[in-house]
Each structure stands twice: as C-alpha cells, then as structure tokens.
C-alpha cells in the first residue's frame, strides 16, 4: 500500500469498495479508471487494493469492471447515532478544524429539502373533454422566447407592428449555462451538437466560447457574467441571445473561481486571461448596483448587437425574487431566467450551496404572479432552471408559468455523471468536469451528443403524451395554466404561493 493515513485529518470514509476476489481477473480496468487514487495494483502480490478513504463513489470502476467484481456501498457513520447533530455536522466540524478552510462542494444541494414538483399532480381528460393521442395527431412544442406584444397591427396585408427579436425553440428545453473551464472541450462540443440537432439552444456559460464552437451558430446563447470572460464583439455576434448572469442558484450572492491549474492554454485564450491564472468572477457586476445600472448593460448589449438579439437576465431565486424580477422586466430584459437553489455548480462553498436561496417552484409561481399583477408577464418570457429532473418537472414548471426550462445537471447525468460532487477537484472520473487531457478523452462528443438527443427527444415525447392526456395540443395552452396542477401534502400557505388547489378540490 502506497499511502500512509493521516490521523490528524481523518474522518470516516463515505464509501466501502467491496471486491470479490473470485470474480476479479486483475484486468486493471478499475485501476486505470480511478482518478482519485482509490484503486491501485500491487504487482508483487498480483492483487488490486482499494483505499476507501479516497473513494468518492463515482462508480466509474464498478461500471467498467467486466466481471462485476466491484460493489460500492455507502458506509453508515461509525459514530454513535445522534439525530440532532447528524453525521454531516460532526464531519463538517472535524474537516474545518483539520484543514482550517471552508469546505468547497459541487453539484446542487443534497440536503433533504422538500421538492415541490413531487407534491404536485397533473390533470387528465375524462368524458367531458377528449384526450389526444400524440402519435396520431399533431402536437406543438414550439416555443418563442422574447418580448411579446399585446396586439398586432396589420396594414395592407402586412404586419405593421415591429416585433421584438424572438428565440425559436423546437421544444421548451435548453441546455443550461456551463462554462468552458468548468466543463471540457469535448462536453461543450457534445452539448452544442445536441442543441443543433434538437433545434434548441445551449448556453456557453461565463467562460467565453472556444473558436471551434462558433460552428454551432444559430443555437448558442452566450453569457455575460461579472468576470466578463471572453466577451467581445464576435462572441456577441455568434450568439442568438445574450444572457447577463447576475446570480446562480447554487451560490446566490457570490462569484466564481476557476482555479489556475484548470486554466489551460486553450481556456486562457478563450477567457482572454493569462494561462495558469485563477479566473475570478466577482460577486457583483462592478458596474451594476441598481436596476438602472442593469438597464444600461442590457441596452449596451442590445446596442452592440443592433437590437437583433433578445437579452436574458439570469438571477438566483432569493427572498424578494418577485420584486427583483419585476425590476428586471422594467429594465428592458426580454427573458428572465430564474435559477432555483437546487441548481448545480462546479464549485461553491458548502454553507452557501446548502442554505441560501429558494426552491424554483415557489420562486417561479411568485414571479409569474407578480408579473401578471403588474401587467408585465406578456412583455417578458420566463425560463425556469435549477433542479429540473425529468419531463414532468418541465410540464409542471410550464403549468406554473415558465415559458421554457434550462437543464444542467440532467444534461451531465445523461452523459455519465453520477453526481459524486467532485467537480471542484477537477478530477472527474467521467471526463466531464475536468481539463486533464487523459480524463477528458472519456467523453466522446459523438456518443455524448447522441445520448443528449435521445434524452431530450424522450422527454419531448413524454411531454406530448402528458399534454395529450390533458386534451391539449400545444404547449402554449399549458403555459401558466395552474388549474392543471393539484397539490398534496402541502400546507395552505405553500398552495397559496404556488397558486394551486389541493388535490380533491
């Protein structure tokens, strides 16, 4: 064994790797797949060993073991059970005490907060109105994002009203902002390919866009975040829409930090920063301290792109989200993106990820209500993101008032991610959140793109079937139709905010 345990920083391992010696053929598939040095081969003994303490539970070894010799189990805490402190608090204190730093984590929060999607049920048609079979009759999932007008004026058989720029989506699902830097080249390539094939959009994230990915023109949303990485004229020109990122659901109120070791030559060039330097996104935009400042940036970007592209503003869901959204709508944005607190991240301080923000369901409902009350809802589109896990979450989000959704974590799970929450280490064994050239190869853009296309197509089919069951033949008819939803296991206040009736009502 090539590692000496450090008792001073010891905390009980989270996982137990069990290897069946009868089945193990020492092919070393597991050894070379483990990027966390948990598995190693002893040539002298001709035996493969595991250090449980280093295992992160990514299941790469188990997936690759050709004889299924490996089982990974969650270890229960060996400490005396204490319901009021729980394992995480005890281990958290020990880690902070041992390392003297605030733990950084990734992915969305794994704490057992209520998931409101799972407390909402959808409606279906029976007797009094017919349901529709989507395999026999046309079903429309096409969605347009952007400012809408109250009425259209037509003169001499021609449209007189000047329409705002619209983003045309074949289906109401887009790929969320995940930057080049957080993800590697191959993954962005796969997401771009999938977006092109699906007729939807992918978001470049805040890290600029690699020159090679300009080929996806027509399916790109570019992000302008507080770090302004890689933002220049060509970057804005290649995009179909521009998103100003104010906040991120997983870490509202704080910026980003891409460690220098991840800033390879290609990322440095894309982000327009020196190679190997930390890429720091400040917590606020230093030119936005008010809604008026935001308006200036929105119009600066519109001016730069000749008013041809819709401008999104993405905010994290926080306590006064509806008032903030109203301000954004009045500041001239075309689309508001709401990011719930279950949204993912490549790195965030643990306390922030697990304690700050609002669930997307409540935020979406209250923002939609507020915008309707103020007569602004028609002037702006809403995109929900942060914790959209399946096609029914999409349907429920649209019924609550969203125009479309962003999927981020689901995108990564489709191409291999097992949510082991090690994105911040840069050692992703599935080759997703890493810049290591040896690990990045694990994502074959062709295979990954096909998997994404499959996933989204299946979701689209499921959405169509659900719409058909409800007797609706267009996603537009479901938008903001909260009568399609019924809550259960919720208290009155929750249902009041969600604006839905209780099941049975």
């Amino acid at each position: 064994m090539n590692w000496i345990k450090d008792v001073k920083t010891y905390t009980p391992p989270d996982f137990h790797v069990i290897r069946d010696p009868d089945r193990c053929i020492r092919c070393k598939a597991c050894v070379d797949q483990c990027s966390f040095d948990s598995t190693f081969y002893d040539e002298e003994e001709d035996k493969i060993w595991n250090w449980d303490a280093k295992c992160v539970g990514c299941n790469r070894c188990a997936a690759f073991c050709p004889t299924e010799a490996i089982t990974i189990e969650n270890r229960t805490s060996p400490y005396r059970i204490n319901e009021s402190w729980g394992k995480w608090n005890v281990v958290g204190i020990k880690k902070r005490a041992a390392f003297g730093g605030a733990p950084v984590v990734s992915m969305g929060s794994d704490k057992p907060y209520i998931v409101y999607w799972d407390h909402m049920l959808l409606n279906a048609s029976q007797v009094t109105n017919p349901s529709i079979d989507p395999l026999r009759e046309p079903m429309e999932l096409k969605t347009f994002l952007g400012k809408k007008v109250d009425c259209l004026e037509i003169e001499n058989n021609k449209l007189k009203t000047v329409l705002s720029p619209q983003l045309e989506l074949e289906l109401p699902i887009m790929f969320a902002a995940m930057s080049y830097g957080a993800l590697n080249y191959n993954v962005i390539e796969a997401i771009g390919k999938a977006a092109c094939e699906l007729g939807t959009y992918f978001n470049s994230g805040e890290g600029g866009l690699h020159k090679d990915h300009y080929k996806f023109k027509g399916n790109i949303i570019v992000q302008v975040a507080s770090g302004r990485f890689g933002v220049y004229k060509e970057y804005l020109d290649v995009a179909s829409a521009i998103e100003i990122k104010i906040g991120q659901g997983a870490k509202p109120g704080i910026g980003g930090h891409l460690p220098g070791e991840k800033v390879t030559a290609s990322i440095a060039q894309t982000r327009m920063i020196p190679k190997g330097t930390d890429a720091l996104s400040p917590a606020p935009h230093h030119d936005i301290y008010s809604i008026e400042d935001l308006r200036q940036l929105i119009f600066a970007l519109k001016e730069a792109t000749e008013y041809k592209k819709p401008v999104f503003v993405k905010i994290a869901c926080v306590h006064n989200v509806s008032a903030i959204a109203s301000g954004i709508a009045q500041a001239g944005a075309d689309v508001i993106v709401l990011d719930g607190f279950k949204g993912g991240t490549g790195a965030s301080p643990q306390v922030i990820r697990d304690n700050i923000g609002l669930p997307i369901e409540l935020a979406l409902a209250s923002v939609d209500d507020r915008l309707r009350q103020e007569g602004l809802r028609g002037k702006i589109s809403l995109v929900a993101s942060g914790g959209i896990r399946n096609s029914m979450d999409v349907v429920k989000a649209i019924a609550l008032g969203a125009d479309a959704v962003y999927i981020g974590t689901a995108t990564l799970i489709a191409i291999g991610c097992t949510m082991c929450q090690q994105c911040h280490t840069g050692k992703c064994a599935w080759g997703i959140a890493t810049q290591d050239p040896f690990l990045s190869k694990r994502q074959n853009p062709n295979i990954a793109a096909q998997r994404l296309v499959n996933l989204v197509n299946v979701w689209a089919l499921e959405i169509k079937e659900t719409l058909g069951a409800m007797g609706i033949n267009s996603i537009e008819s479901l938008k903001g139709n909260r009568l399609a939803l019924r809550g259960f296991d919720l208290n009155e206040k929750e249902m009041e905010i969600l604006g839905i009736l209780h099941a049975g009502e």
Binding site: C27, P66, R442, I447
Partner: protein, 144 residues
C-alpha cells in the same frame, strides 16, 4: 478490406478490449475462466504514454514483414486477406516477433513449443470482439 481503426483521441485505457480478446480466443468463452484458468494472451494491448493511450493490435500490413520473415510459411494471408498464423506449423522461432514494426506479435505456446500469437480479427465474428467491447468507440471496424 475492413480493419480495426484506432481512434486514440477516444481511448480511455480501460483494457476492456484486452478482456474481450482473451474471452473470444479462449476455449470456454468465459471471461473468468479465460483469464484465470486458460491464461489466454490478449491479441491487442492497451498502451499508455500519459495523456495518450491507444489499443494496439496487428495492422495486417500489405507487405507484412512477418510473412517475409517466417521460415516455413506459417505466417500467411488467409482467404479474407488478413495476416494469420497457422498454429499447426509455427515452431516458435520468433522471427515474426523480431520484425513486426508494431510489436504486436506475442510469444505464446502450444502443447510442445512456442506459438506466435497475434490478432486474427475474430474469424467467427462479424465485428471483432475488441471493437464490440470498446465503450468509447476508440476502436471501430471500418473499410480503411
């Protein structure tokens, strides 16, 4: 002629090609028995020179040096046009091993003496076992 194309940009160095090869060329066709009891040699080898990796197997050269070097015609082209060894006549002189520019011929044994072991592109299968086992399309069976 179809050959195994090596796409090194996709190779994840997982050795599953080797495992599939051993199983395919075993008597039992059982993964565990092939490795533990029969000690089958893999015809392909996953090579690593970080961060590059690739599985290397016989390239079935047009002007195969191993055929030229073989003293008794054991190394020959079969009816498919692939370079294969006749196990009944190979005497294990290892001249083919010496001349192979890719180093993909291994020194095996039959009951009495040495026997050159090399990729035969799985005559019993439509797609070679290694190609089928590759999880990342780093090996593809294509017309080259």
């Amino acid at each position: 002629m179809k050959l195994v194309k090596i796409n090194e940009d996709n190779c994840v160095y997982c050795h599953l090609c080797e495992v599939a090869c051993k199983t395919e060329h075993s008597e039992s066709k059982d993964i565990i028995k092939a490795v533990k009891k029969e000690n089958v040699l893999s015809r392909c080898t996953a090579e690593l020179n970080y961060p590059y990796s690739a599985s290397i197997m016989c390239r079935h050269c047009d002007d195969a040096p191993c055929i030229f070097a073989c003293q008794n015609g054991s190394m020959h082209k079969d009816e498919r046009g692939y370079v294969v060894v006749n196990p009944n006549t190979c005497v294990g002189c290892w001249m083919c091993v010496m001349v192979c520019p890719y180093g993909v011929i291994k020194q095996g044994k039959n009951d009495m003496w040495g026997l050159s072991i090399k990729c035969d592109l799985c005559p019993d299968r439509s797609i070679p076992a290694c190609v089928e086992a590759c999880p990342n399309e780093a090996l593809t069976f294509e017309e080259l």
